[in-house]
Every structure is written in structure tokens, then in C-alpha cells.
Symmetry: C2
Subunit: 303 residues, 2 copies
């Protein structure tokens, strides 16, 4: 069992989807990720919240084996806030509001015992912060990173630095096209792998169409878990990354072959996440169900 460290955002969200509307609910890339990863493995979290972030969520995270010593709470200040509205197809969304609040001046601090985490997940957050955390650690065995279109637009060279220092980079297809200027996501993936020699795998999230993964030699496709209804796609990517990294931590096997299996677990945790609003779908899980869904994936894809 390897230990995972995640640095990312901790947020309070207002979310509107065709399935409903919630306000002031917990969110943030590091929160979704760590809850998903904790189904498989222990997780250390580094991030920042204001005093308005619900204490019971932090307590709940601890009951799931998430170490929150690295989660700084800034008294009298407000948590990062995001508000978004999804379109009918659930694929596109409009950001209605972003308030950085405590994130604006955040300087990550690493508890001493976090420094030997074997797996580091650089969740979506300002790329400078991702690089800072990476520099504060002994080089982990596996560095997995993520980003979003906002940083690709506004700080592409820093994003490129993050990818160059990563073993696994996770990105969605539209962001990958944006980043490379290609029209074909496979050609775009080839480009990234050529330019980033350290990368052992590039994982492209295709939304409702699943996952494409490649190490530059082998290629792998996995459909998304077939859901008739999605409540809230927020955090789907982070929940995927959580299940993916959690399974890698549990198995301790970082080969591309094992990453394929990890993609299946990531897709299962992502399906839990989007089944309900905010982090609700990640709260309850049953190991038996996870096994069953794994078998369902086998049947879905075999011929």
C-alpha cells in the first residue's frame, strides 16, 4: 500500500444542472479526489479553506482515512467559491462566479510526514502551486497531474512545466485540443507524449464516451459506466483521478497494464460521483458493488 498526497482546491459550490440545483455545497478538486481515492487507500491532503467550510465534512473525510493535517483553515476568511450551470447535454457548463478568497494568497505547507508520499496528485489548481508542492517533496515514485482550460489559456507555459515533471497527465479531450492546436485527440496525445519524455501515460477523459489512455506504444479505450441519468457532473474528473490513483496506491503496481485496471476503478468512482450532487455520491460505497461494477465493465467491453 502506497501513500497518496493530493494538493488541490477545497471549495464551496453553487451548482445548477438539468436534474436540480444546490447551493453552498462542498466541492473542490482535492475534496472530490480524496474521497474517491479513500475507497482504496490512505490519502494526505494539502489545501486551504476558510472558516465557512463545514467542519462536519472535514470530520467525515477523517473517518475515511483522509489525513487533513495539511488542510489549512484560515480563520475569518472565506473558502474558494465556484458557481456553475450545466447545459441540457451535461457536457457543457457556464461558470457563473469564481471567488478565489483564501486561495488567492495560499502558500502550501507540508506536514513533515507527508514528504515521503509515494504518489502525488497535483489536482486542478494554479500551476505555480502545483510546481511549489512538487519542489517541497522528495521526488515521489509517481506524479499524476491535472489542470483545466482556465490555466491552459492563462498560463500555458507553467502548465507545460507541470506536465514535463509528471509521470501521468490526465486531461479532457477539449482541453487537449486547446493545448496542442490539433483537431484529432489521438494526434494531440502523440504530441504531448513526444514533448514530455518523463510521461509514462497520458489519460484523456472523453466525458460520457469514456477514457483513452496511452503510453506512446500501447493504446487503451474504456467506455464510461453507462448512466441513464446524471445528477451533477461536477468533480467527475477528480473522482476519476481519485479511483485511478487510489487503486494504483493499493496495488503498488505502476505499469501501464495496471493503469488500465486503475482506469476502470476510476470510471466506477466517477460514476458514483455524478450520481448525486456535490460529494454525496462519494459518501457511501460498498466494496461488493465496486467488484460488481468491475465485472460489468468486463462484459460491456468484451467480444
Amino acid at each position: 500500500m502506497k501513500k497518496i498526497l493530493v494538493v488541490g482546491s477545497v471549495g464551496i459550490d453553487d451548482i445548477e444542472t438539468p436534474s436540480g440545483k444546490v447551493e453552498g455545497v462542498p466541492g473542490g478538486s482535492a475534496v472530490y479526489f480524496s474521497l474517491a481515492a479513500s475507497m482504496f487507500s490512505a490519502v494526505n491532503i494539502v489545501g486551504v479553506a476558510g472558516s465557512d467550510f463545514p467542519r462536519d465534512i472535514i470530520d467525515f473525510m477523517q473517518t475515511r482515512g483522509i489525513d487533513t493535517k495539511g488542510l489549512e483553515i484560515v480563520d475569518g476568511q472565506k473558502t474558494f467559491r465556484w458557481s456553475g450551470r450545466y447545459h441540457d447535454d451535461m457536457d457543457n457548463r457556464d461558470t457563473l462566479l469564481t471567488e478565489l478568497n483564501v486561495l488567492e494568497t495560499f502558500k502550501p505547507k507540508l506536514p513533515e510526514e507527508y514528504k515521503n508520499s509515494e504518489i502525488l496528485f497535483l489536482a486542478n489548481i494554479k500551476p505555480d502551486l502545483q510546481l511549489e508542492v512538487l519542489d517541497m517533496l522528495n521526488r515521489p515514485e509517481l506524479v499524476i497531474s491535472d489542470t483545466m482550460n482556465f490555466w491552459i489559456y492563462n498560463d500555458p507555459s507553467k502548465v507545460a512545466q507541470v506536465i514535463r515533471k509528471s509521470d501521468v497527465f490526465i486531461i479532457n479531450d477539449s482541453e487537449l485540443l486547446l493545448m496542442t492546436g490539433e483537431n484529432n485527440f489521438l494526434a494531440a496525445a502523440d504530441r504531448i507524449l513526444e514533448e514530455c519524455s518523463l510521461l509514462k501515460a497520458l489519460i484523456v477523459k472523453l466525458g460520457k464516451f469514456g477514457i483513452y489512455a496511452t503510453d506512446g506504444k500501447e493504446e487503451f479505450f474504456l467506455p464510461a459506466f453507462p448512466l441513464r441519468q446524471v445528477a451533477d457532473p461536477t468533480g467527475a474528473g477528480d473522482s476519476f483521478a481519485g479511483g485511478f490513483a487510489g487503486y494504483l496506491a493499493k496495488s503498488g503496481d505502476f505499469t501501464f497494464q495496471n493503469m488500465k485496471t486503475a482506469c476502470v476503478y476510476g470510471s466506477i468512482t466517477a460514476s458514483y460521483s455524478v450520481n448525486d450532487f456535490s460529494i454525496e455520491g462519494l459518501k457511501d460505497f460498498d466494496v461488493e458493488d465496486i467488484h460488481e461494477e468491475f465485472e460489468q465493465f468486463k462484459k460491456l467491453t468484451s467480444f
Copy 2:
């Protein structure tokens, strides 16, 4: 070995894609389909062309075991003409011109020996014509049908009749959403299967994301063959249907399990088709290559 009958369009196309431009090239749903299917099986074609349709293409079809007795040539008249321009993403296209010409007054005529074809493919053409051909035949063992957004807009009740009389219906995801008013293609597929009791399988083409197939109990996902460059997506769906039906005809096994395998062969023939403009990609093929690509699909999807 079962025999296939296809009724569909025979056309002359002008095509512009980000990869290039061709004018006055052979096309049409029945032409793409029969060339793809002929890699596996004998095909009888019913359709109509004008005297401007290149004779050498008909000769070539015959060398591939395609019986063209049912392909009517109307002297002094012009073949159906379509002109389209694809967007950069190759997923969307603008139709620049459609001239029905000989298709306008076409009445399908069936050579007597076609009437016992075991597999009927109702390729994209006016749904009235699809129904007419179906009525002219002893009920084939397997009726596979296709349509396009134009008919879904303009004659939805006739399209519904065609589906209700089919064993397998092939449609792309955006057309399926258009037809059902659903936002989720899985929920839309459920709806169609509930409403059409005869359907043994519904096959949803997801473009570059592959294929989803279901019989209402089992579900199956298959990625598209990973292509870095596409020359011309025209006829991809018909080429898929050709490989699919051709393999079913060759194997004589119409179970859903075998349809999954047929989807793999359909995806291979579709990848040949889009590799070059017009029907060029379907002209040469090597049985060895097809086997190799089948194995590649196994590797692409297994974990």
C-alpha cells in the same frame, strides 16, 4: 453463407474536408455499403443511377461479387448528386447541394432471385422506398435499417415504421437524440427498444468515439479504430453497416453476441473507408490486415 440485399442511394459526390477536395466522385449509401460488405459476403444491390455514373465503378463492384442486376441505369438522366463540406473537427458537415435527379421518380424493381435474400439492409434513402422494398420480399431472416436526420425531420412517422419492421436499427447518437427528444443517448436507446418490439439490437454510432450496441438486456461498447488522420468521413456509417452485415452473412449467426464481433468488423471497414476519399479506401483490402486489426481491437479494449 447468407445472401445480402441492399437498397439505398447511388450517388455522385463533391466533397471537401480539411484533408482535401474531390469532385464528381462515386458515392451513395448502397455503394459504400456493398463495397464494405463484399469483403465478407456476396451482395445484391437495388438502386438507380443516371447514365453519368461511371461504368468502371459498376464493373469494379461486379469483380467484388456484387450483383448489380438490380442497379437500374436511366439513360439520359443524371445520378443523385450530393455536395458537402466538413468542418475542422470532421464531426460536422454542411450540405452544399442535393440534387435528387433519378432518385426523384425511382421505383425499386427486384430481380426474382433477389427475393430470397436472407439479410436485407435498408440503407439511407427515402423511407417510403425502404418500406416498398421490404414489402416486395419474403420476410428476410434479418432486416437491418439506417436513416438520416433529413428523414427524421421530414417524415418521422415513416422512419418509425421502418424501425418497427426491422431487427437491427443503426443510427448515430445525434440523430437518436433528435428522434426521441432525449438528452442521454442510453435513455434514448432504451426508449426505441421499448417502442419497437421486433428490434433485436439497436446500434448507435458515436463517430470517433465508436459504437454502442444493446439488445435491451446486454450492452456493448466498442471504440473506433484509432486514426490520427481522417481523409473523408463520407460513407463511414454505410461502410460500418457493410462490414457488420457482411460478417453476419458470412457467419450466419445473428445472436447479439455475434453482433458484437460484427461491430468490430464494421469498425474496421469504416476505418478503411475514411482513410481515403470517396470509395477509394474500400477498393483494396487484405484479409490478413483485417485479422490483424481485429486483434488490435482486442488489445485496445482489454484490461
